[in-house]
């Protein structure tokens, strides 16, 4: 598949047409480093993808639970996460394409009750939109949906497949188990891409990855500021960053742009909006319309300083001393830091513990459990989560929606739920307690 063939498809062409428009739009705000950085990063990544296709170099596909450092370290191999196109269309506002992928996946047998994050991947693969891979890598985190998408990816790609298993437990043995599989993955990647792992290059990639992580940590620190001095909608981008760009110069650039914006706005004491209520948005971002967060800010004074996709746990950086320490560090990043993989696997304790930490550290007043309908692991823990919130006396809103499909729950309904919660529950409570 050449760049000409890629750009001949409507789905790719519209991405390349939309990006400059948005860059121009956000470029009007010289302080919007975060969004501008993200758009520039996406553009650079996609341009590399096109160049790579023209050079006939190999691609490796993977699902959203995996990180791309090892693939970058092979040199001359381009990672492609299979959710890429659907997610980009959703974020860039080309909702029609995302919905086409969802409907397309259902038309070929993916049950309607399965996750739309899988469907956007499968729909795009069925349309033949991604350059053919040399091999594929699947990981079972963060949830059963990945068990679905990886098995379908394997079947449709028809090339060698490697599965990474992440156990249930949050312990040292889990990290070592995954590190062992990454060691096993290297010869697999070498064999099927025809490239050799260069450990000096891996060190460089890990250092870039560490730089990205440090920038994210610092950025998240700035987001603890009361009132919040930057847009709520930016927070979920940590996940995108880690899935698409980790280990790449684009990733580092985006993370630093987010950090710069947070620092500058805070130092200027910019009052971005009138903050009345701060919420931890637990579970899934409204990818179908990130502008809804602007609406919350403007109309309700509701800010989201942190969410589960944005939180990147501080479990240490990758030690780049030896190949072994790097594989260990990458494994730890995959299972203990990667948003969702950290909280969604294993028992509910980590899920609840992280929430309580976010609530306290980011000084939130309440929790909004935005329940993507296909997140069975989260819905399966809702009873225990509600009990934990009740014990901690945390106001909790629970509602159902689909993070990629607005036909499930319209924006108006989401807004209605959130508005009622903020205006009738949380803000009056703050007033009563003299915290407003």
């Amino acid at each position: 598949m050449t760049s000409k063939e890629i750009l001949a498809t409507r789905e790719w062409r519209e991405i390349f047409e939309t990006l400059p428009v948005l860059q121009k739009f956000f470029g009007g705000d010289p302080a919007a480093h975060g969004l501008n950085g993200l758009l520039e990063g996406c553009t650079s990544y996609l341009e590399k993808l096109l160049a790579h296709a023209d050079e006939g170099k190999p691609f490796v596909w993977y699902n959203l639970g995996f990180n791309s450092e090892l693939i970058y370290a092979l040199g001359g191999v381009h990672p492609v996460t299979i959710e890429l196109l659907g997610a980009l269309h959703s974020i860039l506002g080309n909702q029609r394409n995302t919905l086409d992928f969802i409907d397309g996946a259902q038309a070929v047998g993916i049950p309607a009750d399965c996750c739309s994050a899988d469907k956007i991947a499968i729909g795009a693969i069925h349309k033949g939109l991604y350059p053919a891979p040399a091999c594929t890598v699947g990981i079972n985190t963060p949830c059963d949906a990945q068990v679905l998408s990886t098995q379908v990816m394997q079947e449709l790609a028809g090339v060698p497949f490697f599965a990474v298993d992440v156990p249930y437990y949050h312990n040292e043995e889990t990290v070592r188990h995954v590190a062992g599989q990454l060691r096993e993955l290297i010869p697999f990647l070498e064999q099927h891409t025809g490239r050799r792992m260069d450990y000096d290059r891996l060190r460089e990639v890990c250092e870039i990855s560490n730089g990205t992580t440090e920038a994210i940590w610092e950025w998240l620190e700035w987001r603890k500021q009361v009132p919040l001095t930057q847009s709520s909608k930016l927070v979920a981008f940590t996940l995108l960053l880690q899935i698409l760009f980790t280990g790449s110069p684009e990733g580092l650039k985006i993370a630093r742009a987010l950090l710069r914006e947070a620092r500058e706005r805070t130092e200027r004491k910019e009052k971005f909006f009138e903050e009345r209520v701060r919420a931890v948005w637990y579970q899934d971002a409204v990818w179908t319309d990130l502008q809804i967060y602007d609406w919350f800010e403007r109309e309700l004074g509701l800010t989201v300083p942190v969410d589960i996709f944005g939180y990147y746990a501080n479990e240490g950086l990758i030690d780049t001393a030896t190949p072994e320490t790097m594989l260990y560090g990458l494994a730890r990043k995959l299972v203990n830091c990667h948003p969702m993989a950290r909280q969604f696997r294993g028992d509910m304790d980590m899920y609840i513990r992280d929430f309580m930490h976010l609530l306290e550290a980011w000084k939130a007043d309440c929790c909004i459990f935005a329940g993507h309908i296909a997140c069975k692991h989260a819905w399966g823990g809702i009873g225990l989560f509600k009990e934990a919130c009740r014990r901690a006396e945390v106001p909790l809103l629970v509602f159902e929606f689909d993070m990629f499909d607005p036909r499930v729950t319209p924006y108006e309904d989401v807004y209605f739920e959130v508005e009622r919660f903020v205006n009738e529950i949380v803000y009056p409570r703050k007033l009563r307690e003299g915290k407003a």
Binding site: G109, V147, D165, G380, L384
Partner: protein, 390 residues
């Protein structure tokens, strides 16, 4: 008469417990429940406990389970959880959960935090049956052995494991015999009857089952075969422990002559070598590399070949795929089966999405009826093309 024995089987699986479990308990012996077929029953038996497969049988209302698990989790798990929260499983001395899927995984949280069951074991079963991951599974089994040893004050040694293997090999041998009787041109028992027998093998002591199965097999020898002329089906899919469901499918004229169900034929496994030096390893290998569940990533090509071989061996006319709503792993399986069927022009497939504890009514029966008619028409066309031979 096999009918009387089959009624006895039905009585054993009708509710949450049965008289043999009661007798086992009355003798002061523990009962340990388990969710998933990746939990080796031999280990539980070697600990002196009766392995008891958790089911939602007899549950009329999942609301207690729903309160913890929501309405977005599979109804099988919600019914089991409801029963547990109502106290119906209070007779259990322990339970062993797994990371089979998100649904079972979350029920494990509730089991631990909200029931009075005194022992909780857990197996993190690797998500792909690769040799390099087998060591992790074996390690998990060793931890389970240690946990059972400590809790029940026993020592699960090689001899106890060998005895347990022999016991369950006896169960397996009977199940294999029964499954062979299903493959005959005129099967000796229906798919619903066979499923009931398989379920019984998972909720009564193995010695009780082998005695029961021997009587049944002998009685079946004298039974006139059932008419499978309208259609021979293979049933494949997720958790199904409701013979009534299979009965409803078969009421439309076709017979389920083979299955790849977790509660059905897949639970039987091949015989395990009891005389080996390391029986725990033999058990581990048998379970880890058995015909896999759809939760096993990367193993679909093997499952597909096994399904095709089963269809051939059963001389089946079509495959019925059933899945409980909200199940992702079996959702992938459905997609992949449909892809292969199309690519290889393999066999007709009917896909049914269902809820636990809901017997098919008109709509499902109509679909099955139409599927059976489609099979009949295709067969008639083939026969016409081949000069009348089946």
């Amino acid at each position: 008469m096999p009918e009387a024995i089959l009624r006895e089987v039905r009585a054993l699986i009708r509710g949450q417990t049965n008289r043999h479990v009661d007798s086992w308990k009355a003798a002061g012996r523990p009962v340990v429940g388990y969710f998933c077929s990746y939990v080796p029953r031999e280990i539980l038996l070697a600990a002196g406990a009766l392995p008891f497969r958790l089911r939602g049988a007899g549950s009329e209302d999942s609301s207690r389970g729903d309160a913890y698990l929501s309405g977005r989790v599979c109804t099988y798990v919600r019914h089991v959880m409801s029963l547990a929260l109502e106290g119906a499983y209070d007779f259990l001395d322990g339970e062993v959960s797994t990371n089979t899927c998100d649904h079972v995984r979350r029920s494990a949280d509730v089991f631990v935090k909200k029931t009075a069951i005194p022992f909780h074991g857990f197996l993190s079963v690797p998500r792909t049956p690769r040799e390099s991951l087998y060591g992790y599974y074996l390690g998990e089994l060793k931890k389970l052995v240690d946990g059972l040893d400590r809790h029940f004050g026993v020592k699960i040694g090689a001899d106890r494991l060998r005895d347990a293997i022999r016991m369950f090999n006896g169960v397996r041998a009977r199940l294999h015999t029964i499954n062979r009787m299903r493959l005959e041109d005129k099967p000796r028992l229906s798919g619903a009857e066979a499923l009931a027998v398989h379920i019984a093998s998972q909720v009564v002591p193995p010695t009780v089952f082998t005695e029961l199965a021997d009587r049944l097999i002998e009685a079946l020898q004298g039974r006139a075969g059932l008419d499978s002329a309208r259609g021979r089906l293979v049933l494949v899919g997720a958790e199904l422990d409701e013979p009534e469901y299979v009965e409803a499918l078969e009421s439309q004229g076709a017979l389920v002559v083979a299955d790849q169900l977790c509660f059905g034929a897949r639970s039987a496994l091949d015989p395990i070598d009891a005389e080996t030096a390391d029986p725990l390893d033999a058990i581990g290998r048998a379970y880890f590399f058995m015909a896999s569940c759809a939760r096993m990533i990367g193993d679909f090509p093997r499952r597909w070949e096994q399904l095709k071989a089963m269809v051939r061996a059963a001389r089946a006319d079509g495959v019925v795929f059933e899945r409980i709503i909200f199940c992702d792993p079996w959702g992938a399986e459905l997609h992949n089966i449909l892809q292969r069927v199309k690519k290889e022009n393999a066999f007709p497939v009917l896909s049914l999405t269902r809820e636990y504890n809901v017997v098919p009514t008109g709509q499902v029966k109509t679909r099955v009826q139409a599927f059976v008619e489609k099979i009949e028409i295709a067969r008639a066309q083939r026969q016409a093309a081949c000069g009348g031979e089946r």
